[in-house]
Symmetry: C2
Subunit: 417 residues, 2 copies
Amino acid sequence: MNAEILTIGDELLIGQTVDTNSAWIGKNLAQYGIQVSRKTAISDSEAEIISAVNEAFQRVDFLMITGGLGPTKDDITKKTLAKLYQCGFRRDETVTAHLENIFARRGRQLLEINKQQADVPEICEVLANEVGTAPGMWFDQNGKVLVSMPGVPNEMMHIMENRVFQRIKNRFKTPEILHYTAVTIGVPESLLSKQLETFELSLPPHIKLAYLPALNTVKLRLSGQSDNAQILESEMKGFFEKMCETCGESVFTKEDISPVKYIARLLIRHNIKITLAESCTGGYIANQLVTEPGISKVFNGSIISYANEIKHNELGVPEDVFRTEGAVSETCARYMCEAALKKFGADIAVSTTGIAGPGGATAEKPVGLVYVGIATKNGSHVKKYHLFGTREQFMQRTANCVMALLKDLLKTEFNTL
Amino acid sequence: MNAEILTIGDELLIGQTVDTNSAWIGKNLAQYGIQVSRKTAISDSEAEIISAVNEAFQRVDFLMITGGLGPTKDDITKKTLAKLYQCGFRRDETVTAHLENIFARRGRQLLEINKQQADVPEICEVLANEVGTAPGMWFDQNGKVLVSMPGVPNEMMHIMENRVFQRIKNRFKTPEILHYTAVTIGVPESLLSKQLETFELSLPPHIKLAYLPALNTVKLRLSGQSDNAQILESEMKGFFEKMCETCGESVFTKEDISPVKYIARLLIRHNIKITLAESCTGGYIANQLVTEPGISKVFNGSIISYANEIKHNELGVPEDVFRTEGAVSETCARYMCEAALKKFGADIAVSTTGIAGPGGATAEKPVGLVYVGIATKNGSHVKKYHLFGTREQFMQRTANCVMALLKDLLKTEFNTL
């Protein structure tokens, strides 16, 4: 079954806010066999909302709306929906009680503007929002379902997870849709596509392959659709294995997760302690690891040694190295990871030193040059890369290279794979 | 003038990729007096593309398309546009030369699949893409302009900046649109709206106020539209100053930039050195600072002291503190920032210690509790916060709190504001 998403808010159109909601909704609806066939973003305008809803309902029977439910004047979704469904408002008692509770807890006065958040169109079913003040709403009229939710991401997710998914299951009968995704690092899309040419031609019409490049990774996604879940699953598994075999060593993971998350979970599972001495990545890799719950089991801490002074004082890189080879060098990367290993008592230490740009480059050392060092009790080695992009992209690409090195290391030296 | 954005790609609908392109386009078109009135995301389907383009051209005269220009089979935008405009293809010589050059430089073989990237619909004007392989295309037929660009963000931005903006200026005559934005930290949207009630009612119809909450910040954006740039600017400036006065101390900055960027630039401008000892934020704040070019002038490095062991070994937090008050305590935060100040030779040191969740909480110390310490040569102080959200949101909220504290400090102790 197809559904559409409608996001409401000028901030999405003038680019002040990046819409992460609809990606999340799309991903999660897929698990329930619902395919998002179109996403539309419009401004906080009554005429726009009404025409966009009407257009969507000409194409699909299920529409998810986010945004425009705040307490302020620029938020008009609720009023517009009442107009669209030609109904009045009622003040919901449960929502009122929830608002009184939430404001009391925060020690804030409940203003009339806040109380109005409990006013909902008469014909809708309220989707309680325990983590915020604006309730979600479920409209089911003339065979068409419309769900309206706040645009604040954690509130939307809360309502989807706790109120909407179960209602979808009860309300719709949907075909099975399965996605299998493998992540590759460091191989260009066109090369992968060349490798997979024959495989791609062998796919039946109900299974599609997509290439999703992002920085120096490419996700290979197989999507299949069928009425028979069991047959589809076994079919998809077969094709997925064949695809991964064809790509060989290029496949980093067969799960749809980021390389950092994959490595973080592996380290936690096998209780392998990691630390870092980051220069050009400035804490990016550490912070990516730390977003994984439970990482404290294997991550005690790390150092960001941005200036030579810190590389010398904290990691014992000899000042000679800066004068002869420079801080962006194999030798410096090696000193850094070896010292970090001892300093933080880890099983693996990673160091990064490079030129993130836009400044700092020389003829021999261009922007994008980076050395990655890895040390364990068995010794250390350093690898050199030429990467590109903005400062952020450079850090992200470096992190992906580090994860590919760590995967090799976990396989060869730690036998975890 | 209004324009629409059409993004093409299944990955956007099933949520595998978050669309950051259209936010960037929206933001930048606004500078040229063009307002994005709708954004639509559809799948890589010929029928969908054709109907979405036709629908858009019923509403506007200018349509920007991203995505579907890769070399692989799932990318069909170019073929579909040729069909839509009922024209054949020509192989562009400049693009071919560029492809040969790029593949030679990367030491890769130019496959036929790559050469085909130089094939463009006959009637379009090529928008050279120096940073990638797929060229952009400019169609101008029957008074309607369509621009097609790759979905890879840095390629799209390169084409927009170097090829599209100047063409827009030449092609369209547009009214002036101005946005003025102030950023507040720590005040809820509804409270701000109450404060600004009278101000909002005093606005003329061509100037609108929007509230854009994100984590513990709210952006207040005034948008105005007029044919006379000069009059609009002076009008907007007056209203913006009045708005900021009304909000008083809640206003963190009157620029549309992130709090971290604002502080980073201030530190660089005044040559004030900063360091950090991060526990619960795990390098997030350091990394945010490091994304600012030129930060090396004022940031030598910092430590991520995640485990108690590191807080003790590297920062000298007495083991007593862990036993009596715990690592998440005012005393620990104070030790951490004071030690970091000395260790890294900075003017300001910030420490964070808290409970990011989901694990690690107790009855007295719930998830979201965080102590922020700030030390300078004049002494140190610690502030306690109760924040909420996921691990990432908790770190981001903490960073915003830190920036608010730093702004106060830069004002009172360093006289920079």
